[in-house]
Amino acid sequence: MPVERQSLRRAQQEPAVLRWGLIIAAVAVIVVLVIIPVVNIFYQALGAGLGGYWRNLTGDPDTRHAIWLTLVVAPVAVLANILFGIAAAWAIARFHFPGRTLLTTLIDLPFAVSPVVAGLMLVLLFGQMGYFGRELQAHGIKILFAWPAIVLATTFVTVPFVARELIPVMAAIGSDEEVAAVSLGASGWQMFWRVTIPNIKWGILYGVILCNARAMGEFGAVYVVSGRITGQTDTMPLRVEKLFQEGTNAGTAASFAVASVLTFLALVTLGIKVALEHKTRQEIESAGAMGPPAKESA
């Protein structure tokens, strides 16, 4: 490796000024846009010491409720996306049907649509003036400005994560092992749990981690559909904003405390993501290696 690197460097003999200029520019951007803000969040959050930090997080019942709500909404959205992701990836990787390309494209739609617009779509559907609004009200079902709308909005914006992760994995692995399981007498469920799931487990986990990070941090769509009722429909990101807007020193400190929890979760996610990327790559590579085996002697 060192030999290769050296020859590579020699091959692209850029002037030192340019080389260092680019490196410094890149590092400067990262420091200003990423490192300083992240460090600052923790610095501000811990400004009043660990005791103050803990009080900021747990002392206020509204903040406690926001944390609790996020911890409930995110897993529900993740679960919904695991089910949808596996179903969609299975359909796209295993079958050829009319509209297959369209489905693949539509899975990406939530990435393209602004979360605020996604929230508005739900308001149009379930609001009092919306298509289902009157019907729902007549039956006393509350979706908008309550947790069901928060779950729906969060699920919508996180739809692509699991499905997009699984489609290439399932396509690379192919259906040979599943057919083999059936030929050996496995039922559909046995095949699914014993062969399909173990083969795609790292892909699922990777999708789940990304999906969860996005679900916990979702702001725009939830902002529109939740009604921002303090102590009832505020999630962690909404709570951060609300505390900050109070403008008091105490509010700002509490705001940074909640923000630090979200940031910490993001850093953990990043770490797991790097570890899992390695695993999913192995999954796909082993699919290649286990296809037509290389010619070799017994």
Binding site: S183, L184, S297, A298
Partner: protein
């Protein structure tokens, strides 16, 4: 257990994979489905296993109609072309899979798996993963896995296709011996005629979704029913000619052909295998074709001679025994007379290859 395939057809969209195929596999026999790719042999195998449903027709296992049954109910062992081993399971768990999904007791599973690994000579490898095995070892794990459910029929799809020549020959002989030991009704698919002839009791030659011929390897090789079978089973020299009044004229060669007694002449094709041609130094009446020696290649037990016939404007392959080759002392460029010992004649309109 015997297998009977009756009038099975299968369509994939606009592609017809099988057209009215009927086939009998007697109990305990080892049968090869032989054909070029796209001939429908793998589709037929999958239909017998229940992995694919027949478009029309009936499959009987031991006189029982199983056409509508699942693979599990049919109880067949299937070995896939690329083995399809479960990559996340050890060799042991791969072989145990069929018993596990049937809910067998742990002790029974262990006993049977170790027994099978002994049978396929893979003792001591039970903790390995498929990725850690060679091609030949994977193939034998696949076989043990298929046998673990005590199938009534063993089906193999191109079982030796992905192996190198030496391993392939070993495994062929081993499969033949295994069959003699356990006497399980076995069907395997191959595109390699040598493999089919070496391993199978009976050979079914398939082409474009149809059965072209069925019989013992000897029957099929010596008495091909049609030009396709003739051509598919090894090298062949092709002569264009005409038939009339019980005779066939191939250039200046005259061959008796009692099957065609009409005065009106018809196009025919004559087929002669390289070892059925002889070379003479002198023309013997009208029984020899003048030809020029192009190339001589004494290879192994045979001398392969390539000659060009001016009458037909084609090159012919002649296999001479080394003895005969020694007698003749052939030189490239000289003119000789090629004499067919045996010609198979087919009317040209009947078949197109």
């Amino acid at each position: 257990m015997s297998i009977s395939v009756q009038h099975v057809s299968k369509q994939f969209g606009s592609f017809t994979a099988l057209r009215d195929v009927s086939l009998e596999v007697p109990t305990g026999s080892l049968l090869a489905l032989l054909g070029p790719s796209g001939s429908g042999k793998t589709t037929l195998l999958r239909i017998i296993a229940g992995l694919e449903c027949a478009g029309s027709g009936v499959i009987l296992h031991h006189d029982e109609d199983v056409t509508a049954r699942s693979p599990k109910e049919r109880n067949v062992g299937f070995v896939f072309q690329h083995y399809a081993l479960f990559r996340h399971m050890t060799v042991f768990e791969n072989v145990a899979f069929g018993m596990r999904v049937r809910g067998c007791a742990n002790a029974d599973v262990k006993k049977r798996v170790l027994e099978l690994l002994h049978l396929v000579r893979l003792e001591g490898l039970e903790k390995r993963y498929p990725a850690q095995l060679s091609g030949g070892q994977r193939q034998r794990v696949a076989l043990a896995r298929a046998l673990a459910v005590q199938p009534r029929v063993l089906l193999l799809d191109e079982p030796f296709g992905a192996l190198d020549a030496k391993v392939r020959t070993e495994l062929r002989q081993w499969l033949r011996r295994l069959h003699e030991e356990i006497h399980l009704t076995t069907v395997f698919v191959t595109h390699d005629q040598e493999e089919a002839f070496e391993v199978a009791d009976r050979v079914v030659v398939m082409n474009r979704g149809r059965v072209e011929q069925e019989g013992t390897p000897q029957q099929v090789f010596d008495h091909p029913d049609n030009p396709f079978v003739m051509d598919f089973l090894g090298n062949v020299n092709v002569f264009q000619g005409r038939a009339q009044d019980g005779k066939v004229l191939l250039g200046n060669l005259e061959v008796a052909y009692p099957q065609y007694q009409h005065a009106e002449s018809r196009d025919v094709v004559g087929y002669v295998r390289p070892h059925e041609l002889d070379i003479n130094r002198t023309p013997n009446g009208n029984s020899g074709l003048p030809a020029k020696v192009l190339q001589i290649n004494p290879a192994g037990s045979l001398a392969k001679v390539r000659v060009v016939s001016d009458d037909f404007g084609i090159a012919l392959n002649v296999d001479l025994t080394l003895e005969r080759y020694g007698e003749l002392k052939l030189q490239t460029g000289e003119t000789v007379y090629v004499v067919p010992r045996r010609v198979r004649v087919f009317l040209a309109e009947d078949y197109a290859i």
